[in-house]
Subunit: 334 residues, 2 copies
């Protein structure tokens, strides 16, 4: 049986016209804390629960992104959104009051890349004019749902990552101003047999290698053709594994590589172990930091490879492993 190659989609008519990031207090103390559009100082941000607070992060992120444009809700055609909460309620509760057509997606921490690539696909094909990509995560709601309630006080392992309290929103249109989404490759689910809920990076590294390799092959490009190759939240463990995988092909990926999970926090002074994670981690780094640099031309061409661990506590309790996935989006200034 041959290998399924999939397709790399090319876009001539998809731009990220507006973008915004909202983050929590811990994230505001990190190296990029002053790049976010709004900091929610309190873990609940005035909401009654962590889940409602996460939904509010999405509301705020999309509101900020729309406020930078003349677009009102009635001019918006579509939203792609998802998050880590069961039934993706960060998205449905956070975005329902915009009353904009809504397609829910789930890709764990790869969700923002999935939202961008679907938004670009729909705008570039002319189905819609103005399409939003939104995602979020929240440390407290994620720890409770996926690992232990916070007041249990469990000790975190060295491989554990810190789920970011953050959200990002981008509005994709056919406006002729950068950043442009020029190409995208959809990931395949990769199961490396990892079943440690505290070692997400290892579960995702193989998926990042597979999709990046196919993207390079389909587009005839190489790592040196990009200013940066940005993974979502492999963290230290997953990044090291990714370098090992590319080294077998004679590629020193570390020369171009940045990982949002390793950037969001100051790992010296902030106790985040192997780095940040969560849908909101790379969404906030993209919308708070990187897209600005593509917009102003400081970065000409970046590959955004958002990784997701399709991790289910139920499946892991039943002895299952944690499959990973990674979607790749090429963002360019011309």
């Amino acid at each position: 049986m041959g290998v399924c190659e999939g397709k790399t989609f090319k876009f001539s008519n998809a731009a990220i016209t507006s973008f915004a990031a909202v983050a929590g207090k811990v994230e505001s103390k990190g190296p990029y804390g002053d790049e976010f559009d709004e900091i929610v100082e309190d873990n609940k941000g005035g909401a009654d629960t962590w889940e409602q607070a996460e939904a509010m992060l999405q509301t705020k992120a999309l509101r900020h992104a729309m406020d930078k444009t003349p677009l009102t809700t009635e001019k918006m055609d579509l939203i792609f959104a998802g998050d880590l909460l069961n039934q993706c309620t960060g998205s449905s509760y956070g975005l329902k009051d915009f009353y904009i057509p809504f397609l829910g997606i789930y890709g764990a921490c790869s969700t923002f890349a999935e939202a961008l690539l679907l938004s670009a696909s729909m705008v570039n094909a002319g189905y819609v004019e103005n399409c939003a990509a939104v995602t979020s995560s929240h440390f407290s709601s994620a720890e409770r749902q996926f690992r232990f309630p916070l007041n249990y006080g469990g000790v975190r392992t060295p491989t554990a990552q810190w789920t970011a309290t953050a959200a990002g929103a981008a509005i994709v249109t056919s406006e002729p101003e950068p950043p442009f989404i020029r190409a995208a490759t959809v990931g395949k689910i990769q199961d490396m047999g990892i079943n440690d809920l505290n070692n997400m990076g290892a579960a995702m590294a193989g998926a990042a290698y597979d999709t990046l390799s196919r993207h390079f092959k389909h587009t005839g490009t190489h790592p040196e053709d990009y200013d940066l190759i940005i993974t979502g939240d492999l963290g230290q463990v997953g990044s090291d594994l990714l370098y090992d995988l590319f080294k077998r092909d004679g590629v020193a990926l570390e020369k171009w590589h940045k990982d949002c999970g390793l950037m969001l926090y100051d790992r010296e002074s902030q106790d985040v172990h192997a780095g940040g994670s969560g849908c909101g981690c790379s969404a906030a780094m993209m919308c708070g930091h990187f897209l600005k640099r593509v917009k102003n031309g400081e970065l000409k061409r970046i590959l955004y490879a958002a990784t997701g661990a399709l991790m289910s506590p139920t499946m892991v309790q039943q002895g299952g492993s944690i499959p990973g996935i990674c979607h790749v989006v090429s963002v360019e200034s011309a």
Copy 2:
């Protein structure tokens, strides 16, 4: 503030080339039991757990759909899939071994319509050639996750619906043979303030009314232009509400309306209360029953309006309501 209308997508180049349905034992005793491609007699179908059994339903549905075509996995370009399990593991575990590019979606019981409309969008625009839409649900895994463990023996209310143990898979291509997907309208999240986990139909009726109304308006069609208007799983309570909503516009929708939740089981002899539900319910009715009748020309034009209750036990426990959504797809024989 004006109302966001969204867009209705038109397709000239998207056909459902193959489709298959797999169902459980209870579903096999219903009026359409002999129309499914495979019946899984045991609730676990040989798997160790209900969740693994649900994943297996998706594996089987896609395998059956592919077996009706010359397509091998390496010729498949993309899968859109989702289900009701937390982290959508019915899809990720059920489809990972196909090793086909995968985009996870979440629309609760509207998922199969979301998968069809996204598949049609991607094929019609030429991004991919062969795209699969897959979804599933499982009575036992859903009851445990959303309501009570089965051995708790809770009494079900008259408004409760029965989550179908079933899966459906469709392969969308540009082949010039019917059934064709000709148009689709994306739903907006509608919150009717319902907070009863056992009254999903009421939570979804408003969403069905909104998306169907916009679809009629955008396409210049009326209910009488269709052979059937098929909702996903409004059940008896939701269907009656939908008729009331259309009655205000002078439309007697009941003349054209069928609800998959009211068809899948024999409500006289099977104790399913307000009808069936679950992503697999309308997917199995579409792939087992309706698409065959469009393919052979018995039905010329049907509207498939799959409804989803974006219901989260966590949010309901926190006092939240259950928002609904509905996506509409027009399936035609010419």
